[in-house]
Amino acid sequence: MRNYLDFEAPIKELDEQIQKLKDSAVKSGVNVDNAVAELEKALVSKTTEIYSNLDPWQKVQLSRHPDRPYALEYIEKLTEGTWVELHGDRTVKDDKAMIGGFGLLSGQSVMFIGQQKGVNTKMRQYRNFGMANPEGYRKALRLMKLAEKFNKPIVTLIDTPGAFPGLEAEERGQGEAIARNLFEMMRLKVPVICIIIGEGASGGALGIGIGDRVLMMENTWYSVISPESCSSILWRSWDHKVTAAKALKLTADDMKNNGLVDGIIREPLGGAHANHEEAAHILKSVILEEIAKLSALEQEKLVEQRITKFCAMGSFIEA
């Protein structure tokens, strides 16, 4: 059973019609191939139409689509049984909202790190809704340093509604943990590729988001705040989230145009949630391609370019 967002209603309708037709054919024995083909053509064209005209708020909704693949699923599909999850920050805890470990990507060892959301009610709790505590960021950093030691590239998969704003998170230094990651990731001597696969909310996303390539999948968002929170702070009401989503320029296109991310990764027709296999396949080829390019650079050059890139971000007037 897949889930449909409001604006996916026409898609739902066509999906159901096709299913009904097929079911009736099974019962009646009548050949419905032509009718199904017609409907499927209509489905493609409807889906294309809807997905070509998404507004920012719709992309935000898609980034949170319940059927969307999460980090672990991508990693498992990418590494085909060679992923070994590694745990723990070596100080206080193993954070279930942040996962990491080596896996082989077409034979090449890669350190994968990502925020992990839960796939059902129980797991959502277990994964703390993809909101990491400080120990999650520290685990991530430990694993990145491990990858650096053995000269392996790092891929981070970003998908978080934010760093967890809990009491213990504050006690154990959420701010320090994220800050430390920014600092240390900036000078990792191996290629770092960061991919926003869902939600890229603020410091919680950036905490594993310093890379030589920062890429956004088509139907994701990345900004300093969620549209809802922005609305509630600036307009003092939750009702302006659509406006806020637009104002924040948080889509992949906007972020790319503003030079704040390096590229956009195409999703299958109808979004990553409509075809997990293809989404993973696209992801894999992008990662392999980028690793090949980045591995060609000298380590010093790599770090220098990374620093230079982030230092160039900003818009101001020399009055």
Binding site: A169, G173, V224, G314, F316, E318
Partner: protein
Amino acid sequence: MSWFKRMKTGITTKNQEKKEIPEGLWYQCPECKHVVTTEQHAEHDWICEKCEHHDKINSRQYFSILFDENEYEEVAAHLISGDPLEFTDTKAYKDRIKMTINKSGLKDALRVGFGSMEGQKVVIACMDFGFIGGSMGSVVGEKFARGVDKAIAEKCPFICISKSGGARMMEAGFSLMQMAKTSAKLTQLADHHLPYISLLTDPTTGGVTASFAMLGDINIAEPKSLIGFAGPRVVKETIGKDLPQGFQSAEFVLEHGFLDYIVGRKELKAKMALSIRQMM
């Protein structure tokens, strides 16, 4: 102007300036209600002589306390904010910036000075809460970056005095990336083995805490400052109950291992100068 009128002016500070610059001739301590003349208050480095309450002050005031003879060269003073996203909420960002510049006399939420402190060359970056809540936009990031460059060029330490509500939402993604940018600059400072002292003052929260404010070779704070990543209201909502007494105070943050020491403003210059001598 009658005495009464003067007094009234003194104890009524404009909302806009969030009590950072008490005007008029009298200052009343918000903690213990003790009243002194603004001249006396300034002489006491804006600390209440009775209860040691540290009044929130601005970059001009910090510079006057820290730079020898209050002499310093301002770095990148001319930068002002662009409007990369053409952002409008209840007001256009462009207009908000213009208005704030006019009202505050500041160009943005960070000023950077180069001068000497107890005879040692030093670059001091200092945030101004009076400029859109000390929020971090592109100008803050760029001035911070140029401050670091200045320190590297002068082979001297870099000090940053933080006081911030966090991100500048009207610059959205640009604001977020200033966390990355300032951290990047600090790796360059570190490569040159130059000390970085981060002074956290009341309040330091959000993206500033999650970037340069927590990255000091030593992190220090003024007493009782509010320091955190998530603001107390958000944390309270998350946990669904009242916060413990003193949560996110400088003293709390010290106990949890994130501050090297807490220092009163009276001892600030001497102690920072000593710490710098020890690291240079």
